[in-house]
């Protein structure tokens, strides 16, 4: 540990000098933390500066809409909200199916600001929630690391976390998603757990349960906490580190935490019924058995204890066996053995690729390759092993937790690239510890060997360097550590006392250590290289924040030789829908645009990004893959009035509906077998030029995308597919174009009304047949039959 060494440096100074130094260090750390908060906030503003203050992507729009509803109607309405604007005609129970943490947080911030007469819009609050919580997260990292290895390591870890690219990717301004607040909640819960473990205070234990509750509210990733902490407790017990502090840290968390978690509607009884939570209950029982053993050991004489121990062990084992048997029976009775597919694919990495294509197909769930680590945690990947080793020298309850955290999270991140987000804080903490200790050793070596400084180091002006400050903070820590280590033995087992006896000897060793410095010139080089490494990290993080992770994907830009182009077609289209259609009109589009349509256009959609009903999505997919008439009938049966398609052929926007079209065919064909993928492929190739199949050229998606496209350049050249389109001149019989945005990226069509029935032969026929017969006529008469 760094603490004894630092205390040795502080020994020659006077007592008054020491307190002054501590106060100075405290103030300095405070300002450094403030600056770290500013850094964490401001590095995430690139998206606002480069684009504008706007909500990003798809899911954040849903969260934004929910927040709007919350601020307008209040918490009770929100809790009971049945949303009829989506999944028409099914609707969706929002209150019971979302993690409300993020929404409630942003809603509270908005309400607070408004009651302070700061009139910010809900959107502004939502945009800046993620950067604010990143600052909180870096402060929480400081607290956590400080508990483990002292304030110096804490500050280093905090500054690393403030700009770790993996976390930036989920928390730039405008990225209003669950992870933004959940990472803060995760770190803070861990901090409170460690704090409870170090102090044994019930106050912190209660706070810990509340922090856990906040985490459960925010993100499904809370299962990581409720499995990691029991694992750590078990590890402590197995390695003989049981103490009453461990009991206080764990037992209240399980009882209170589970009760609180069950209050969140989306979790509910899952908190006690699914296997993800069983580990915590099992460990809860084990810790009670162990506590009983320790208690009996305390009240009995050693001889009596030996007699008792056999009795207790056999009884305890019997109870354990019974409980395990019950648990196994419970688990075995559920079809998936109580585990959700995603959790199973973490335990058995090949599970998803074998059995759940839906999970395996999502790009976030792919296993990462080594460049992903370099992209997302950058040079921290080099420092983590040093941090792990530092945690073992010496091994404490807190540092063993950090080791467990990094080991589990790095394994999980290896299975799913998305979980890199959970690895990032752990990597920052361990790297912070490693960096801080390396700086400590190198600066100490330099300090004791520089000829001019060796006599009176402490009062030197050059002392404000970060490394010396760390030493000061470590001095503060030492006193605390010694205080605690003094009052601990009374409560602790004999093993701990043995450690305490060894303390003075380590102290004398530390005195000697001053002489055990490293060579001067090598230390200087190492220090410089470490600083360069840090500088490289900063450059990389700023680049990642500015270039890689800031695009909102609702506004697009492109640089060309004649300057910057901005494509704001999406908002143009949604605004058109909002202003030119009836408030109860239904808009059909592929599910990607569902959240945005409901949030920005305030119109009812058929399917959205919460893909809970496959059949419904397949219906829309089938309609898009069908010829006009069949599609009209499907959409008409769903009361759809407008169809929205995204088309990138004119400006070269690659993620448009034509490129997603094969998924529509596949998903549609999965439920409605008359849609067959090979019908849309020419010799296994997906093409839209003159070689395309007739089915492809006649399907609704093709027609809606390329209708009148030839008028733009006379040839109909598609810039995404880099080819001329196959069918250039055609008319629409059942749909009419009502709006196309500036760059043709969004095109909106209206379903033509049903034909008037009073006409010749079809006079008596019913509506269903009239639609078919009229379309027959439309084929024969060529001219538009509707007018």
């Amino acid at each position: 540990m760094a603490a004894p060494e630092a205390s040795s440096a502080a020994v020659p100074t006077l007592m008054t000098n020491n307190t002054l130094r501590n106060a100075f260090g405290g103030v300095l750390s405070f300002f450094i933390l403030l600056l770290i908060g500013v850094l964490a906030f401001s590095i995430r503003l690139f998206s606002v500066i480069k684009y504008e203050s706007v909500i990003h992507e798809f899911d954040p729009y849903f969260n934004y809409r929910v927040t709007q509803f919350l601020t307008k109607n209040g918490i009770y309405e929100f809790w009971n909200w049945f949303d009829d604007r989506t999944w028409y005609p099914l609707g969706r129970v929002i209150g019971g199916t979302v993690y409300p943490g993020l929404t409630l947080t942003a809603g509270t911030i908005w309400w607070l600001l408004n009651s302070l007469n700061i009139p910010l819009s809900v959107e502004t609050v939502c945009v800046f929630t993620a950067p604010i919580f990143s600052a909180f997260a870096s402060w929480a990292t400081y607290l956590l690391t400080k508990e483990v290895k002292g304030a110096g390591a804490g500050l280093t870890a905090a500054v690393l976390l403030a700009m770790v690219p993996s976390y930036i990717s989920r928390s730039v301004a405008g990225s209003y998603d669950n992870e933004a607040v959940a990472i803060f909640a995760l770190i803070f819960t861990f901090y409170l757990y460690i704090k409870t473990l170090n102090t044994g205070s019930l106050f912190y234990a209660t706070l810990n349960s509340i922090a856990y509750f906040y985490m459960v509210c925010s993100w499904g990733g809370y299962t990581f906490i409720i499995n990691l902490i029991p694992m750590h407790v078990l590890l402590c017990i197995v390695t003989g580190r049981y103490s009453s502090r461990l009991y206080i840290a764990y037992a209240p968390l399980v009882v209170l935490g589970t009760l609180l978690a069950a209050l969140v509607p989306v979790v509910g009884f899952n908190a006690v019924m699914t296997s993800e939570h069983f580990a915590s209950f099992l460990v809860f029982i084990i810790i009670h058995v162990v506590a009983l053993v320790y208690y009996i050991k305390g009240i009995l004489s050693p001889k009596m204890f030996k007699v008792a121990v056999t009795l207790v062990i056999s009884a305890g084992l019997a109870v354990c066996c019974a409980v395990i048997a019950v648990l196994i029976a419970l688990v075995a009775s559920s079809p998936t053995k109580g585990w959700s597919g995603r959790s199973l694919s973490l335990l058995d990495p090949t599970y998803a690729s074998k059995y759940i294509p839906i999970i395996a197909s999502v790009s976030e769930h792919q296993p990462p390759t080594w460049p992903s680590y370099f992209m997302d945690i950058n040079v921290l990947a080099f420092l983590v092993p040093a941090g792990i080793i530092a945690c073992f020298l010496p091994l404490s309850d807190a540092s063993s937790f950090v080791v467990l955290y990094i080991a589990t999270s790095v394994y999980f991140s290896g299975v799913m690239v998305r979980l890199m987000l959970v690895l990032a804080p752990a990597a920052c903490i361990t790297s912070g510890i490693a960096l801080s200790q390396a700086f400590d050793v190198f600066t100490r070596s330099i300090k004791f060997q520089l000829p001019g400084l060796s006599s009176n180091t402490e009062v030197d002006a050059g002392e404000t360097s970060s490394a010396t400050k760390e030493a000061q903070n470590d001095a503060v820590k030492t006193e605390k550590a010694e205080e605690t280590s003094k009052d601990r033995p009374s409560r602790k087992s004999k093993k701990k006392e043995r450690e305490h006896v060894e303390k003075p000897s380590t102290k004398t060793k530390a005195e000697k250590k001053r002489l055990l410095a490293l060579p001067l010139e090598a230390s200087v080089i190492s220090l410089l290289l470490l600083v360069f490494l840090g500088a490289f990290y900063v450059v990389h993080c700023v680049w990642a924040a500015a270039e890689a992770y800031s695009a909102p994907s609702i506004v697009l830009t492109s640089h060309s030789h004649d300057g910057l182009h901005v494509f704001d077609d999406f908002r143009e289209a949604y605004a058109w829908l909002r202003h030119n259609t009836d408030v109860d009109d239904k808009v059909a589009s592929w599910w990607d645009y569902g959240y945005q349509t409901t949030a920005m256009a305030n119109r009812t959609v058929i399917v959205d990004n919460n893909t809970w009903n496959n059949t419904h999505i397949a219906t829309v997919g089938t309609a898009m893959s069908s010829p006009e008439k069949a599609a009209w009938e499907i959409f008409h049966s769903l009361d759809v009035k407008y169809i929205l398609v995204v088309f990138g052929g004119l400006v070269g926007y690659p993620s448009d509906d034509i490129n997603k079209f094969l998924w529509m065919v596949r998903i549609g064909g999965g439920v409605f077998p008359h849609i067959k993928e090979p019908d849309y492929l020419r010799d296994g190739q997906y093409r839209i030029d003159s070689q395309a199949t007739p089915t492809m050229l006649n399907c609704l998606m093709y027609k809606l995308s390329y209708y009148r496209f030839v008028e733009t350049d006379g040839k109909g050249f598609d810039r995404v597919r880099r080819t001329e389109i196959g069918k250039k001149y055609f008319k629409l019989t059942h749909f009419e174009e009502v709006f196309t945005t500036h760059h043709w990226m969004v095109r909106i069509y209206k379903l033509k009304p049903q034909k008037n029935r009073i006409r010749g032969k079809t006079k008596k026929s019913k509506s269903k047949t009239s639609s078919t017969s009229s379309s027959k006529r439309s084929g024969t008469r060529k001219k538009n039959p509707w007018h």
Binding site: V238, T239, G240, V293, V309, T310, I313, L317, P349, T350, S353, Q366, P367, P368, T369, W370, P371, S372, Y373, F374, M375, V379, A381, F382, L383, V384, P385, A386, I388, I389, A390, F392, L393, L395, S400, V403, A407, V410, Y411, S413, G414, V415, A434, Q437, D440, V441, K495, L516, A517, L518, P519, A522, S523, S526, L529, L533, F536, V539, V542, W543
Partner: protein, 342 residues
């Protein structure tokens, strides 16, 4: 009584008429009975054929025969060649056979599982035209020429072991094989033994745990475990396992050259991952070595040399990773300097 009398009468009448009408049925049912007898003799239900029985059951009876044969061609002298997997395939084949028999209550006389050994019955191998192993062949009831009319099981059909063999049989013969009954990995006796051992062992373990003397109490084990997990994960080994990536590829243009590094960030090769994982890990280990071990070394020159080596290796490793990352992903990471600096 009357019923049973009429019954008896009917049965005897039918048998009589059958005897009269189809004289050949007798010989067929005899063959089937022989086969059933042979089947019950063998443990797994696989009938062992040789040249004599092949002619008896396959070449001499007139087509259509009342049964199909599925034949596994075996060669004892090739059993030790592990790349052929003959032994495993033979076991899987036996598994399909026994599952088929149990699922069909051993009353089915439509399909028989057989094997032929090369040394014993070389002429049969010629008869079937088999010249490479592993080889599994289905002889249908109508097959006249054993070589041309019977169907060979593709490599792909026995690649997934018993299940895929069963699928092949089901698709070709319209018979149902049913679920494969694999023997449990541990038999019940073994399980009981293990449980008993565990029970006896547990008090000793508990005693050791309470005394604090197990391997688990050694931090070095945990330390190396943690570092290994880290190395394993950052090298992308999970990616290689899930995607079943090879350690290296052979260059398409030059078959003598091996490709160890794959350009493009979506994929990586095994050796590549481990190399970079090693580079990731070595820097941290050296840093820890310098800060935690080297400070205790007394000899000043040794310190100096060790530090310089550590600095050099770390510098090289970081540089190499940065270079490889730029090469692989093609990202142009650049700083954002004030514009007046340019």
């Amino acid at each position: 009584m009357a019923i049973s009398a009429t019954h008896l009468f009917l049965v005897s009448f039918i048998t009589l008429s059958l005897f009269l009408v189809i004289s050949k049925a007798e010989s067929e049912s005899e063959l089937v009975a022989d086969l059933l007898a042979l089947q019950s003799e063998s443990k797994s239900g696989v009938i062992h054929l040789d040249d004599r029985t092949v002619s008896k059951f396959l070449t001499s009876p007139k087509t259509p025969r009342p049964f199909s044969f599925i034949i596994f061609f075996d060669a004892t002298q090739l059993h030790d060649k592990s790349e052929l997997h003959l032994r495993e395939l033979r076991n899987e084949f036996a598994l399909v056979a026994s599952s088929f028999i149990t699922n069909n209550n051993s009353s089915n006389t439509k399909l028989f599982f057989c094997d032929i050994e090369f040394r014993e019955s070389q002429s049969s191998f010629h008869l079937f035209g088999v010249n490479s192993l592993p080889h599994i062949r289905l002889v249908g009831p109508t097959a006249k020429s054993l070589k041309d009319d019977s169907e060979q099981m593709d490599q792909g059909d026995f690649s997934r072991m018993a299940e895929s063999m069963a699928e092949f049989i089901e698709s070709r013969t319209k018979l149902t094989v049913g679920p494969i009954h694999r023997p449990p990995i541990l038999s019940k006796k073994q399980l009981a033994l293990i449980a008993a051992l565990l029970l006896i062992w547990s008090p000793f373990v508990a005693k050791k745990i309470f005394a604090g003397q197990t391997l688990l109490h050694d931090p070095k084990i945990w330390l190396s475990g943690a570092v290994f997990v880290y190395f394993f994960s950052v090298s992308g080994a999970m990616h290689n396992i899930i995607r079943k990536m090879p350690m290296f590829l052979v260059d398409r243009n030059d078959p003598n050259k091996l490709v160890f590094f794959y350009q493009g960030s979506g994929m990586q090769l095994g050796a590549e991952g481990f190399a970079v994982g090693f580079l990731y890990t070595i820097v941290g280990l050296l840093l820890a070595f310098v800060t935690h071990v080297l400070v205790y070394v007394k000899d000043a020159t040794a310190k100096r040399v060790a530090m310089l080596v550590a600095i050099f290796v770390s510098f090289w490793a970081v540089k190499k990773v940065i270079f490889l990352d730029n090469w692989k992903t093609g990202y142009g990471v650049h700083g954002f300097w004030p514009s007046s600096w340019n």
